[in-house]
C-alpha cells in the first residue's frame, strides 16, 4: 500500500481519487474541436494525391466552383502569392503546405475546397480535376541511398542524394575491441515497422481570423498549444499575424499519443483561408486521411549486435539504424537529438561499451516520426536491446530471467553513467523482475512449457522485457524544440476563500491532469484537491510551456506545480507567523496548517492564512496569494519496468494467444494509483498492437494497402488480454515530488516481452527471431522455412 501524507479529504499524493474531468465526458458534454461551431463558419475539405510521386500538370477547379455553396478552391499557387506554401517542420526541415508543382507521397494535400457545409465541401473535392504525370517513387529506404536513385528533395539547394543526416554516439573503437575479443556475439537485423497512433479523435481545427482586430483564434487538436502559437507566428508573421495576435485553444482532445504534436498542412491552409476570407474555417480530417497522411511512428531498420562472455556477462552492444523519414524530416524530437533518445538502448544492464549510429533518408512516404505513445524513439531502442538480451541468453544457454538478474545495474550503483552518456537517476531492477516472476509463477511456467511441448498441441512461451525508459525532457541545456527550451510551467492562484485555480503549459489528452495536478497542489498546500480547478490549453491564459508528450507532464509541469506551491507555502509561513505572533522558526507544517511547535492548538489553517493574504497580511508584504514557476529539470527521469508475457501458439494453426501478461512498473512516487494503473493498461494495449497487429503497409508503387480502420488493426477488447499490473517505487532523487512519468513505459516495454514469448514458444523448432507484427501467417511462413510442417506431415 502507498502511504499518504494527506487525508483522503485533502486528497494529495497516493490517493486513488476519482477523476474530476469525468463528469463532462460521461454526460456527452466534452468540448472537442469538431463540437466548436461559430457563426458564419465555412467547411474545408482537402483534395489529396492518388500518386506517391507525380508532377502536377494542371488543377481545374471550374466544376467544383460551379457547385452552389462551394466558395473557393485553394491551391499551392494561391498560397505562394503570400509565401505561405511552405512551412518549417519541428526538425527544422521544410514541408509543403500545398504543392505548386510536385506531390511527394500518396494522400498528400493538393488543394483545399471551401464550402458552406461539410457535404458541399466533399462534393467540391470530388469535382476538382487534377492532371498528374506520375513518376516512379522511391519506397525502399535502402534503395533511396543508391547512386542512381532520383533526388527527391531537389527543392533543397545543392542536394545530391536522399540522405538526411548521420548520427552517432558512444565509443566506436572501444566497442569494436570488445566485439573482436568476445566469446559470444549475437547479431540480428530487425524492422520496427511504420505504425500510426490512430487516436479515436482525428485531427482538425477551426481557424477564426478577425479582420477588424487582426486577431486569430485557433481551436485545434494540439498537444503543445504554446509551441504551436510560436510556429504559427513564425510561418505567418510576415503577413502581419504576430504572436500577440494569435490565441491557440486546445479544447478537449480525444487522444493524442504524439500524433497531435506536429503542425499539419490542413491547419495552415485553414488559417490562410480564414485570413483571406475573414470567415471561420473548420477542417476535420476523416479517419482514412488521418491514417494515410498524418505523422507515422517508428520505421526504423536496425542491425543490432551484442557481445558477451560465454557464461553470460553482457560486454557491449552495437546498433546501426536506417530511419525512413518519408518525404521530409517532420519528427517530433528535441533539436539536438535527431534519433530522439534512442541512445537509451544500452538497457538496464551493467556494461561499459556501446556504439550506435543512425542515418535517415527521404522516401516517397508521408512525413512524420512522432511518438505513438513513446518517448522519442525509446521503443525502437528497447525492442533492440531486449530482443538481443534474449538471443544472447539463448546462445549461452542461460535462462533469460537469470541472465538479466546477473547483468542488471545494481540499485546501489545509481546514479549510473551509461556508455552512451546518460546518467540514470535511480532504479531497482532486481526487485521489479523478482516481483513480476513471483506474480506470474515463473518457474512453474517453465515446467509447464516442457510438458506442453511433449503434448504437442500448443506451445507455451514465456517472454521477459526489463526496460529502462528515459522521459521528462528535459534539461534546458540540452533540450529544445525549434530553439525553445523544454521547461514547463505552472501558475497557481489561490482565491481569498481558500479555493484555487492553477494553469499549466501542458495539455491533457486523457491523462487526467485535472485530477493529478490538483493532487500535487493539495499535497503541497493542504487545500482539498476538489477545491483546485486545473486549466490548460488556452495560450491567452496559461503560462508558456512545451506541452504534453514524451511522458513529460509530471516530470516537468508536475514539478513546476510543486515548486510554485512551495513558494506559496513559504509565503503562508510568514503570514502564519504574523497571525500567531511567533517567529517563523517556531512554526511547523502539517498538510493544511501551520502550528506552533509544542503547542499544536495554536494553529492557522491554509484557508485562514490565504484569507489573511487578502485581508490582513504583514506590512511590507505583497498582497494576494499567487505563484508561478517555470521548471527546468536538472536531469531526465528514468522509469523502469519488468514485464512478463505468457503466450500460447497453436501447433497446427499458428494462432497466437497471450494467456497472461504481468507488468511491474516503477515510475517513482505515485500521484494517483488508479490513474497510473489506467495509463499502464492503455499503454500495454498500445504495446500488443505493434507487436501483433498494426503496421502501415505500402506497395512498390507507393500505395498504402491498409489506410482505413477496416484493415489497420487497432486491437479491440477481444485482442487485449486482461492486463495484470503492479508497481515498485524508486523515487526520482532530483525531482521535487520524486515522480518519474509513466504514460509511455508500457508501450515501450510490452512489444519485446510479447515477441520474446512467441519466439520462446517456438524456439525448440528452430526459430530465432520474428519480425513484428508477429501474425499467425508470418509465424506459419517462418515455421515453414525451418521445415516444421514437413516433419509433422
Amino acid at each position: 500500500m502507498i502511504k499518504c501524507k494527506t487525508s483522503k479529504e485533502i486528497g494529495g499524493m497516493g490517493h486513488s481519487k476519482k477523476r474530476k474531468e469525468d463528469a463532462r465526458f460521461i454526460q456527452g458534454k466534452g468540448n472537442y474541436v469538431d463540437d466548436v461551431k461559430l457563426p458564419g463558419m465555412l467547411y474545408m475539405d482537402i483534395v489529396r494525391s492518388p500518386y506517391a510521386y507525380a508532377k502536377i500538370k494542371n488543377i481545374d477547379a471550374s466544376a467544383a466552383l460551379a457547385i452552389p455553396g462551394v466558395v473557393a478552391v485553394v491551391t499551392g499557387k494561391d498560397l505562394e502569392k503570400y509565401g505561405l506554401h511552405w512551412m518549417p517542420t519541428l526538425m527544422s526541415d521544410t514541408q509543403m503546405v500545398l504543392p505548386t508543382d510536385t506531390v511527394m507521397y500518396q494522400a498528400q494535400e493538393v488543394a483545399a475546397v471551401i464550402a458552406t457545409s461539410r457535404y458541399l465541401a466533399r462534393d467540391g473535392k470530388e469535382a476538382v480535376m487534377v492532371d498528374y504525370e506520375p513518376m516512379t517513387p522511391v519506397m525502399d529506404p535502402f534503395k533511396a541511398l543508391d547512386e542512381d536513385a532520383p533526388v527527391l528533395r531537389s527543392d533543397q539547394e545543392g542536394k545530391s542524394d536522399n540522405h538526411i543526416w548521420h548520427w552517432e554516439v558512444g565509443d566506436k573503437e572501444k566497442t569494436e575491441n570488445v566485439f573482436n575479443n568476445a566469446d559470444v556475439v549475437v547479431k540480428q537485423q530487425m524492422h520496427i515497422p511504420r505504425i500510426h497512433v490512430a487516436s479515436i479523435e482525428t485531427c482538425g481545427c477551426v481557424a477564426s481570423y478577425n479582420k477588424v482586430e487582426n486577431h486569430l483564434t485557433m481551436y485545434m487538436t494540439t498537444q503543445a498549444p504554446h509551441a504551436i502559437r510560436t510556429v504559427i507566428a513564425l510561418v505567418a508573421g510576415h503577413v502581419g499575424l504576430t504572436e500577440e495576435k494569435i490565441r491557440v485553444i486546445s479544447p478537449d482532445i480525444g487522444g493524442g499519443f504524439g500524433g497531435k504534436v506536429p503542425v499539419y498542412p490542413g491547419y495552415v491552409i485553414a488559417i490562410a483561408v480564414s485570413f483571406l476570407t475573414g470567415a471561420p474555417i473548420k477542417w476535420i480530417e476523416d479517419r482514412s486521411e488521418n491514417l494515410q497522411a498524418d505523422s507515422f511512428a517508428r520505421d526504423y531498420h536496425i542491425t543490432a549486435e551484442m557481445a558477451g562472455t560465454k557464461d553470460g556477462k553482457i560486454q557491449a552492444t552495437r546498433f546501426k539504424v536506417l530511419a525512413d523519414h518519408g518525404y521530409t524530416d517532420a519528427s517530433a524530437n528535441p533539436s539536438k537529438f535527431p534519433t530522439g533518445l534512442f541512445s537509451i538502448g544500452t538497457g538496464s544492464y551493467d556494461y561499459g561499451a556501446s556504439y550506435m549510429e543512425a542515418d535517415a533518408v527521404y522516401t516517397n512516404k508521408p512525413p512524420g516520426g512522432v511518438a505513438y505513445r513513446c518517448s522519442f524513439r525509446v521503443t525502437e531502442a528497447v525492442h533492440a536491446i531486449e530482443r538481443m538480451t534474449d538471443m544472447f541468453a539463448k546462445k549461452v544457454g542461460k535462462d533469460p530471467a537469470q541472465l538479466r538478474m546477473e547483468n542488471f545495474i545494481k540499485k546501489e550503483d545509481f546514479p549510473w553513467a551509461s556508455p552512451t552518456g546518460w546518467s540514470y537517476d535511480s532504479g531497482d531492477y532486481h526487485a521489479g523482475l523478482q516481483k513480476a516472476m513471483d506474480a506470474i509463477g515463473y518457474h512453474d511456467l517453465r515446467k509447464e512449457q516442457i510438458e506442453m511441448r511433449k503434448e504437442g498441441k500448443k506451445f507455451l512461451g514465456i517472454g521477459i522485457s526489463t526496460f529502462t525508459e528515459v522521459v521528462g525532457a528535459g534539461p534546458a541545456k540540452d533540450f529544445d524544440i525549434l530553439g525553445i527550451k523544454m521547461f514547463d510551467s505552472a501558475e497557481i492562484r489561490v482565491h481569498p476563500t481558500g479555493k484555487a485555480i492553477a494553469r499549466f503549459g501542458t495539455k491533457s489528452q486523457g491523462q487526467g491532469h485535472e485530477t493529478t495536478y490538483a493532487q500535487i497542489i493539495a499535497e503541497e498546500l493542504g487545500i482539498p484537491m476538489e477545491n483546485i480547478q486545473i486549466e490548460e490549453g488556452d495560450t491567452d491564459t496559461a503560462p508558456y510551456g512545451l506541452g504534453t508528450y514524451a511522458s513529460r507532464s509530471t516530470p516537468t509541469a508536475g514539478a513546476a506545480a510543486a515548486m510554485a506551491a512551495r513558494k506559496l507555502r513559504d509565503k503562508a509561513k510568514k503570514i502564519a507567523a504574523h497571525l500567531l505572533e511567533v517567529s517563523e522558526q517556531d512554526l511547523e507544517w502539517e498538510p493544511g496548517k501551520f502550528f506552533v511547535k509544542g503547542a499544536p492548538e495554536k494553529a492557522k489553517t491554509i484557508q485562514e492564512i490565504v484569507f489573511a493574504a487578502y485581508t490582513n497580511h504583514p506590512e511590507g508584504m505583497e498582497g494576494g496569494f499567487e505563484a508561478t514557476h517555470y521548471y527546468d529539470p536538472p536531469n531526465l527521469t528514468f522509469p523502469s519496468g519488468a514485464y512478463i508475457c505468457v503466450a500460447e501458439v497453436d501447433a497446427e494453426t499458428c494462432d497466437i494467444k497471450v494467456r497472461r501478461f504481468v507488468a511491474i512498473d516503477d515510475c517513482g512516487n505515485i500521484i494517483n494509483p488508479m490513474i497510473v494503473q489506467g495509463q499502464v493498461h492503455g499503454g500495454l494495449t498500445q504495446g500488443i498492437a505493434p507487436a501483433m497487429y498494426e503496421e502501415l503497409i505500402y506497395d512498390e508503387s507507393g500505395n498504402i494497402l491498409n489506410g482505413t480502420f477496416m484493415d489497420y488493426l487497432v486491437p479491440t477488447a477481444v485482442e487485449s488480454p486482461n492486463w495484470e499490473t503492479g508497481h515498485t517505487v524508486t523515487p526520482a532523487p532530483h525531482h521535487p515530488i520524486g515522480a518519474k512519468g509513466v504514460g509511455e513505459s508500457p508501450t515501450v516495454g510490452a512489444p519485446p516481452a510479447i515477441v520474446n514469448a512467441i519466439v520462446d514458444a517456438v524456439a525448440h523448432l528452430g526459430i530465432k527471431h520474428l519480425e513484428i507484427p508477429v501474425t499467425p501467417f508470418k509465424l506459419f511462413k517462418e515455421l515453414q522455412k525451418v521445415g516444421y510442417f514437413k516433419k509433422n506431415a
Partner: protein, 167 residues
C-alpha cells in the same frame, strides 16, 4: 432537394429539412447540436457514434437521417435524469473506464444494450460484446470492470470494489 423529417431524440421531437444523403450522426450533432455522439472513422469500424435506435445499439454513421424518421433515438445526453446518473455512467466514472472520453459515449450506449440483453455477462461476453467499439486509451480492462460493476448495480447485487488492484 431536401426532405422534412422529425427525429425523436431522448424523448424530444426535432423537425428539420435534410438532404436524403445526410448521415444520422451529422443530423444529431449538427442539426440538433447534441455533440456527445462522436465520429471516429469513415468505415463504421470504431463505434464512437453508437446510439440506440428503438433500444438497439447502432452506429449512427451507417444510418441515414431519413431512415430514423419515427424511431426512438437515445444518445448519451439522455442518460442522466433528475434522479442522477445512469448506472453505466456511474460505472464508467467509478472504475476509471475512460481517459480522453472520446469513445466513452458510444461505448456506454453499446454497453446499455449489451446489459439489457444479457444482464449477467461473463468477461468474455463483455469483451466480444464491445468489440465493435474501439478505445485507444484504456486498454479495455476498466471498461470490462465498469460493465461488470453496472451489471451488479442494475440488479441490486453487492457491488464490486472500485479501488484499483495496483499493488
Amino acid at each position: 432537394m431536401t426532405k422534412k423529417i422529425t427525429l425523436k431524440i431522448n424523448g424530444t421531437e426535432h423537425t428539420m429539412e435534410v438532404e436524403p444523403r445526410m448521415l444520422l450522426v451529422h443530423a444529431i450533432r449538427e442539426n440538433v447540436s447534441l455533440t456527445g455522439t462522436h465520429i471516429g472513422c469513415d468505415t463504421s469500424s470504431c463505434g464512437a457514434c453508437t446510439i440506440l435506435i428503438d433500444g438497439k445499439s447502432a452506429k449512427s454513421c451507417t444510418v441515414l437521417a431519413v431512415q430514423a424518421q419515427g424511431k426512438e433515438i437515445a444518445t448519451v445526453e439522455g442518460l442522466a435524469t433528475a434522479e442522477g446518473l445512469h448506472p453505466i455512467q456511474e460505472g464508467f466514472h467509478l472504475n476509471h473506464a475512460l481517459h480522453c472520453g472520446f469513445c466513452t459515449p458510444g461505448m456506454m450506449m453499446r454497453a446499455i444494450e449489451l446489459l439489457e440483453k444479457n444482464p449477467n455477462p461473463t468477461e468474455e461476453e463483455i469483451r466480444w460484446g464491445i468489440s465493435g467499439n474501439l478505445c485507444r486509451c484504456t486498454g479495455y480492462n476498466n471498461i470490462v470492470k465498469a460493465i461488470e460493476w453496472t451489471s451488479a448495480k442494475m440488479q441490486g447485487k453487492d457491488l464490486p470494489s472500485t479501488e484499483p488492484e495496483f499493488v
